[in-house]
């Protein structure tokens, strides 16, 4: 079987359409399961009360925000190096989901911070570097939006993503060092080193749900991007009807 034929956007369009339910339905089921475990089975934290339960969304969202940036840069790089249109479209599709997860992790983080730390925002190393990660996503998306010619937009955004990936660790460590230099708030995200098994289970189930959700939503969005870009290809027109 020749798997390279799926690198053609028109062929991938129908494959993606068939794949979406296989990711979307398990994602919905795992969300329900994870939220059930998180709200009804996981015990109340003895220090933070029930406020800690926002962690079940917050931690998976933060992880997804970081993973998706690397994945996006990977796809963008493939699209640039091998001149593969579909890979660039995947990168464009992932960037929006990644930016939204990063935003979600910032918002849930500050909602969690208010009852536990008493403040909406702390210039803690992790929060600051997540904020900068969001800025990098915004840069990628706005560069792609500013260039009218799709292939030039793909290549330019790919270069920016690759530069960003090299910079992310440098930014992370400099922010961390800056924080210790300034003797900032020395708050640990989790006050206890250990975490109760149901809590961990709920978090991992929701992480899996976020992964499946991301794949499903990225496929949905990439189908729209294919339709938009390949509207002149007769086969897409045939498939889209």
């Amino acid at each position: 079987m020749n798997i390279y034929k799926y690198a053609s956007p028109t062929v991938f369009y129908s494959l993606a359409g068939k794949m979406i339910p296989w990711f979307a339905i398990p994602a919905a089921l795992l969300f329900i399961a994870g939220l059930y475990v998180g709200f009804f089975i996981a015990p109340t934290d003895f220090q933070q009360g029930d406020a800690y339960r926002i962690m079940f969304i917050h931690v998976p969202a933060a992880w997804m925000g970081m993973f998706l940036y690397v994945l996006m840069a990977f796809y963008a790089g493939i699209g640039w190096a091998f001149n593969a249109r579909l890979a660039s479209m995947m990168a464009a599709s992932i960037s929006v989901t990644g930016a939204l997860f990063t935003l979600l992790s910032l918002v849930t983080g500050s909602l969690w911070g208010k009852p536990t730390w008493g403040t909406w925002w702390v210039w803690d190393a992790r929060m600051t570097s997540t904020l900068i990660l969001l800025f990098l996503y915004i840069g990628f998306i706005s560069l792609q939006a500013a260039i009218d010619e799709p292939r030039r937009a793909d290549r330019a955004a790919a270069l920016l993503a690759v530069v960003g990936v090299i910079n992310v660790p440098i930014i992370y460590f400099s922010v961390q060092w800056w924080n210790t230099l300034h003797q900032g708030a020395t708050i640990r995200i989790l006050n206890k080193p250990t975490i109760a098994p149901p809590m961990l289970a709920a978090m991992l189930i929701l992480l899996a749900a976020c992964w499946l959700y991301s794949i499903a939503v990225v496929l949905v969005r990439v189908r729209y991007i294919i339709l938009e870009r390949e509207q002149n290809a007769a086969r897409v027109a045939a498939v889209a009807v």
């Binding site: 900068i132 800025f135 990098l136 915004i138 840069g139 706005s142 560069l143 500013a146 260039i147 030039r152 290549r155 330019a156 270069l159 920016l160 690759v162 530069v163 960003g164 090299i166 910079n167 440098i170 930014i171 400099s174 922010v175 060092w177 800056w178 230099l181």
Partner: protein, 222 residues
């Protein structure tokens, strides 16, 4: 190859000399932005002294954004850049030459004026010296990283604003350690570590950024 490099630098310096107003306006922008902060925050010298490193450094980042959007712009519009891409000499040399000229013309004056602005913020002579040195080591990194953004946004609508969105997040490490060095000097802390890290960023950027800028130029001009 070196003749080519020298030719690019001399040419860009001559062009900058003929358009002195452009260069000066960036410098005045820097001076004005820094001078606005005491007006907005209040004249207490204790407070001013503690915000001075950050204010001067952030203003330097913004000022270098302004001048960077012009690095390739004019050559792009009159077609010179395309001819430069076609020369048999490596594109890296063109990029390095243009970045060096941009640094000499637009960034070195910032570093020279900065101590004067530091006096407004009641900094001590030793700290002024550190401020000058940190800007002198840090601004080449700004030019090198910024040239990637300048090449990517060539000929785009609203390129000047876009380059800021793309590049300012990448400036974070330089800002942290540049302002950190001056901060450390105010609180008599460890300056050397900050300076060495700035120098390390400079070397890293010197190796990788011209390569990325050349690739970006090829993307923008194909």
């Amino acid at each position: 190859m070196l003749t080519m490099f020298r030719w690019i630098v001399v040419r860009d310096l001559t062009l900058a000399w003929r358009r002195r107003a452009d260069v000066l306006s960036t410098l005045f922008f820097f001076v004005i932005v820094v001078s606005l902060f005491p007006l907005g925050i209040g004249p207490e010298s204790q407070l001013l002294r503690s915000i001075a490193p950050g204010v001067v450094w952030v203003a330097a980042l913004l000022a270098s954004m302004l001048s960077l959007s012009r690095v390739f712009e004019n050559d792009y519009h009159d077609g010179t850049l395309e001819q430069m891409l076609l020369t048999p000499q490596p594109l890296l040399l063109v990029v390095l030459g243009k970045v060096l000229a941009q640094w000499l013309v637009s960034e070195v004056p910032l570093a020279v004026v900065a101590p004067l602005l530091g006096v407004q913020f009641d900094l001590e002579p030793r700290t002024l010296w550190i401020l000058f040195l940190s800007l002198l080591i840090g601004t080449p990194v700004l030019s090198l990283i910024g040239s990637i953004g300048a090449a990517l946004t060539l000929g785009l609508r609203g390129g000047g604003v876009l380059i800021a969105v793309l590049i300012l997040p990448l400036y974070v490490p330089v800002l942290i350690f540049g302002a950190g060095a001056v901060d450390a000097s105010i609180m008599s802390g460890n300056i050397q570590a900050n300076m060495l890290l700035l120098a390390a960023f400079f070397l890293l950027a010197l190796v990788f950024a011209p390569w990325a800028t050349s690739a970006a130029l090829r993307i923008s001009l194909e």
